[in-house]
């Protein structure tokens, strides 16, 4: 009953309509992408593909542990990049299981997820400022900023959403400790820790705590003791929370271990580093080539918003109007906090000209894993700026109630000044002028005494004012974006076996983002065209083997591959297995009926039927890993490392069924997944039963009167 009444009150709350309408307007603005006529680009494409593969496997009741990318590799990297334990993917899987096409589910889920993240920002802002309308305005600025465009060209939304909710739960918890906010903090922290570089989040949290301690020392101590007493009175809950956090770290720990063992390489990250460094490490010069300041400078080339593109930091023009209203608002310690917090990350994002990055890089071990310092711009600087603006707007709205002429004159002067500034620009767009005028009308109405209790109408008004310019800007973005002319990888992959590599072109000169070390070694030591020709058939059958020398004789291997000789190179061989064929050339399997038929090609498992007249070594041109297991007709057999990088199985003559399975960490991953879902369920339960959900607070984490 409580849940139903809560849902009812949510639907009838005064800001429900502005929120829903803003979502609808956002969808309208990005309709080209949402309905599939415009193409996803850059990293967003690989995330789209990976989500498809992950949810495909979830539909089959398992997690995808082996990826077909780059000739095959453990899927750890992609699981971590996605944050595969996020319930978002369960929702996507459930919707797909209801028969909704993948792309529709994906794009709407991402749009909804971004909206959810911005709602987290709204609650955070409301919790801090205590002003619903001001928080709504901050929400609208953030929601209609370029952050939302990153769904279609990047993946930063996947971190942004839990980050916003984490800070909401933390602030909520320290305002008035509750189980809900504690579990919320733990759950969002789990999501953030299970990303492949959790240090971004940890560093943001660290800086947040340091500046809290510096700016609000007394409060910080108070809240620390409050946390201690909460722990003391909720020992079991806190212990469970701690365990859950440790569990969330497990996949990342495995991944970092694998990186340190040199099992995989990431050439782009690894550039300029010696071969002994772990694959995830990045040379500071690589990091410094593009940081926050470059993102800002790049955006500055596009002051003509008709040229709007992806990765441009666009904020609605009202941001600048509201920021300039700082002329009227009183400086507070909270403003100082925002300034220091965001300013620190801005300084960090100028690594080539300011010493902060170099200083920290030399002292903090995880700085070597940061490649994209500009992420801080989107995850910290932008939201903090909108938080500051919401705070300022709250003050302004409070001041306007007094109806002082001075305020009205300053408001008018500021709007005129911005109009003047805009008219001086040679390339302004009409909606900028309209939004300035609407802003003036909006604030004047408030000054004239528009009842701020009628938040619904003001909220709707705010939505119109704040979305006027973004609508035009996103229209230009759509016009400048590429149409979807080619199918995405996941759509093409149906045409052939999922194990075939898609990345390699005919020249063989492909640069992998991530690949198993052995594949890259092979690629680097063979002429590109030979490597390409060798890798064309998925299955190859050999009658002779040759033991590899140490070090490998690359000329011999190259000649053998070039001549397509019937010799497979192996590191060791079981003497009981005999090969007897005399054919000179290897036998590529180019289709059914040639001795190998694929029976099933499921996530982490491949089953083939073989029928040979003599014993053969069946080589599957997919990367070898010692964690692959094989059986022939149910009897376990050995998987050889064939031709330096691939999987080989000795198959006797006659008709047999060969099964290859990859089950590395399957049960651990299932356990981790179960813990994530349990904490999420607990969060839902406590959120729906907590009376204080999103209500006002007595004592904020950020003191109000300072």
């Amino acid at each position: 009953m409580q849940i139903i009444s809560r849902f009812k009150s949510f639907l009838t709350s005064s800001l429900f309509l502005p929120f829903i309408l803003s979502f609808a307007v956002w969808i309208f603005a990005f309709r080209g992408f949402v309905f599939g006529s415009l193409a996803f680009v850059e990293d967003a494409v690989s995330y789209l593909n990976q989500t498809k593969f992950l949810t495909d496997s979830m539909l089959q009741g398992t997690l995808l542990l082996w990826s077909s990318e780059a000739f095959g590799m453990p899927n750890d990297f992609f699981l971590l990049r996605l944050g595969a334990f996020n319930p978002l993917f369960v929702i996507i899987t459930l919707l797909r299981s209801a028969g909704i096409p993948f792309f529709v589910v994906y794009v709407w889920s991402m749009a909804g997820y971004y909206f959810l993240g911005c709602c987290g920002f709204y609650f955070l802002s409301k919790r801090i400022t205590g002003h619903r309308l001001a928080a709504l305005m901050g929400f609208l600025l953030l929601y209609f900023s370029a952050l939302g465009t990153r769904i279609f060209d990047s993946y930063i939304i996947l971190v942004f959403v839990p980050l916003m909710w984490f800070f909401f739960f933390i602030v909520d918890f320290f305002t008035a400790p509750s189980r809900k906010s504690f579990i919320g903090s733990v759950f969002t922290m789990m999501l953030l820790l299970s990303t492949y570089i959790p240090f971004y989040f940890l560093f943001i949290l660290l800086v947040f705590l340091v500046f809290m301690a510096v700016v609000f020392p007394k409060k910080f101590l108070n809240k620390t003791s409050q946390l201690v007493s909460f722990i003391a009175s909720n020992k079991i809950l806190c212990f469970c929370g701690l365990i859950a956090l440790l569990v969330a770290l497990i996949p990342g720990v495995f991944f970092f271990q694998s990186s340190h063992r040199g099992e995989f390489v990431m050439p782009l990250r690894h550039d300029l580093l010696s071969s002994n460094d772990a694959a995830l490490e990045v040379h500071p010069r690589v990091t410094s080539t593009w940081a926050s300041i470059e993102d800002i400078a790049f955006s500055n080339y596009f002051t003509d918003l008709r040229q709007m593109k992806f990765a441009i930091i666009y904020v609605p023009f009202l941001t600048w109007i509201l920021l300039s209203l700082g002329l009227l608002t009183k400086m507070t310690k909270r403003f100082l906090f925002y300034f220091l917090f965001a300013g620190f990350f801005l300084a960090l994002g100028i690594p080539q000209d300011l010493p902060l990055y170099q200083f920290l890089h030399e002292r903090i071990f995880f700085f070597k894993y940061f490649r994209n310092l500009h992420f801080f711009l989107w995850w910290v600087i932008l939201p903090v700026m909108f938080l500051l603006i919401a705070e300022q707007t709250g003050q302004i709205l409070g001041m306007l109630k007094h109806r002082r002429r001075f305020d009205l004159i300053v408001l008018l002067a500021l709007h005129i000044m911005w109009l003047y500034v805009i008219f001086k620009q040679p390339d302004y767009i009409l909606s900028t002028v309209i939004s300035i005028l609407l802003s003036w009308i909006f604030f004047t109405l408030i000054w004239l005494g528009a009842d701020q209790k009628k938040v619904l109408w003001l909220g709707l008004g705010a939505m119109v004012v704040f979305s006027a310019q973004p609508l035009e800007v996103f229209f230009h973005l759509s016009s400048n974006s590429k149409s979807k002319e080619q199918p995405y990888y996941f759509e093409r992959i149906k045409e052939k076996s999922s194990y075939l590599n898609d990345a390699l072109d005919a020249s063989g000169a492909v640069s992998f983002y991530i690949a198993m070390n052995q594949v890259v070694t092979l690629q680097n030591n063979l002429p590109p065209e030979i490597f390409y020709r060798y890798s064309l058939p998925e299955f190859v059958v050999y009658d002779q083997f040759k033991m590899l020398k140490e070090p490998a004789d690359w000329n011999e291997i190259s000649d053998s591959f070039k001549g397509e000789r019937n010799i497979v190179f192996v590191e060791d061989w079981d003497e009981k297995f005999l090969l007897a064929g005399k054919q000179k050339r290897r036998i590529p399997i180019e289709g059914p009926g040639q001795g190998v038929n694929v029976i099933s090609d499921r996530p982490n498992q491949l089953k083939v039927e073989t029928f040979f007249d003599q014993p053969k070594l069946l080589v599957f041109n997919d990367t070898f890993s010692p964690h692959w297991k094989a059986d022939i007709d149910g009897v376990s057999t050995r998987v050889y490392k064939a031709n330096l990088a691939f999987k080989g199985v000795y198959v006797p003559d006659g008709k047999h069924t060969v099964t290859l399975r990859f089950e590395k960490h399957l049960w651990i991953n299932r356990g981790v997944w179960l813990v994530f879902m349990s904490v999420f369920a607990a969060l839902l339960f406590f959120s729906l039963t907590d009376k204080r959900f999103c209500g006002e607070c007595d004592e904020s984490l950020f003191p109000k009167n300072c």
Binding site: A297, F298, Y301, Q307, L327, M331, D353
Partner: protein
């Protein structure tokens, strides 16, 4: 007086306690300790990398006349536009921008950018030649002729010096050289074309006698393909009504280029006029063949060149 000072102090206190004042103070303080201009300038230069296109296609367009898509031209135009904003003193940015815009059929903007390039670096053959071509397309033959003459006077030396030292040129040149581009051959062709075009401008201005004189003069000096001069002379003779002379010139032209579309068209018109039906039929058959495979004479006249 005291009350006045108190008011001043109160107002100052109010002002200093404003957030806006704090923002301003922070910004000014930053300016004192950090060279913001330098940081910003460096970042802008580094951020150009993101919009820098691959120059292979532009080079292919130059070397092998590969036609680029609208999107590709737009991408190049955007890059050069941003370069021109970033380094407004670089004439090459305006020149390349003008070149891309002309391929996007934005002729007016192209012309204005070529003008800027010429203003900033007078005496560079390619800048003046392309500006002249832009004027020619605009049918401003007076100015076109002037700039063709100026480009001829500028010659090769300044153009070569500029190309060797311009970063923007080097970006494209590196790719072009890989694709077998020969700068000298390209220059010679365009230099000769500039000579023909000076005469062509006179023709377009209705100064037929001068056009004929100039064409013969250049022809004697051996600058460019004779058929182009003969064609221009024939056009001028036709315009002055000297049709018999025109036919003699066309005969000479066809010796050099038996498949000259324009020449066959003029001959057909002449045969119709004198009612030589047999030759009309012959010319029509030839024209039918040439229209399928022959060159577009006018298009060649309109062609812009990068280097």
């Amino acid at each position: 007086m005291k009350a006045f000072f108190q008011k001043i102090v109160r107002s100052s206190g109010w002002l200093f306690s404003r957030a806006g004042f704090f923002y301003l103070a922070v910004f000014l303080a930053m300016g004192m300790f950090i060279d913001i201009e330098k940081i910003w300038g460096n970042a802008r230069i580094r951020s150009m990398n993101r919009i820098m296109p691959l120059f292979e296609d532009l080079a292919s367009n130059l070397v092998a006349g590969k036609s680029l898509t609208f999107d590709q031209w737009q991408e190049y135009a955007l890059y050069y536009q941003k370069i021109s904003e970033l380094i407004p003193a670089d004439p090459g940015a305006y020149f390349f921008l003008g070149y891309c815009l002309s391929h996007l059929n934005r002729e007016e903007e192209a012309l204005s950018n070529f003008e800027k390039a010429v203003q900033k670096a007078p005496g560079v053959f390619w800048f003046e030649y392309n500006l002249a071509m832009a004027y020619y397309k605009k049918a401003d033959y007076e100015k076109a002729g002037e700039f063709f003459r100026r480009s001829i006077d500028s010659g090769a030396a300044a153009a070569q010096f500029y190309m060797r030292n311009s970063t923007l040129y080097k970006q494209v040149l590196a790719s072009a050289l890989r694709q077998g581009f020969d700068p000298e051959t390209s220059f010679n062709a365009s230099f000769a074309h500039a000579h023909i075009m000076t005469a062509r401008c006179l023709y377009e201005l209705g100064k037929y006698d001068q056009a004929i004189q100039l064409a013969y003069y250049h022809l004697r000096r051996g600058l460019g393909a004779p058929q182009d001069y003969y064609y221009l002379i024939a056009l001028s003779l036709k315009a002055t009504g000297k049709l018999t002379d025109m036919m003699s010139v066309l005969q000479l032209l066809l010796k050099h280029d038996p498949d000259h579309l324009g020449a066959w068209q003029m001959m057909r018109e002449f045969f119709i006029r004198v009612q030589d039906l047999e030759n009309v039929k012959r010319a029509e058959l030839k024209l039918e063949y040439l229209r399928k495979d022959g060159p577009d004479v006018d298009k060649a006249v309109r062609q812009q060149k990068l280097m």
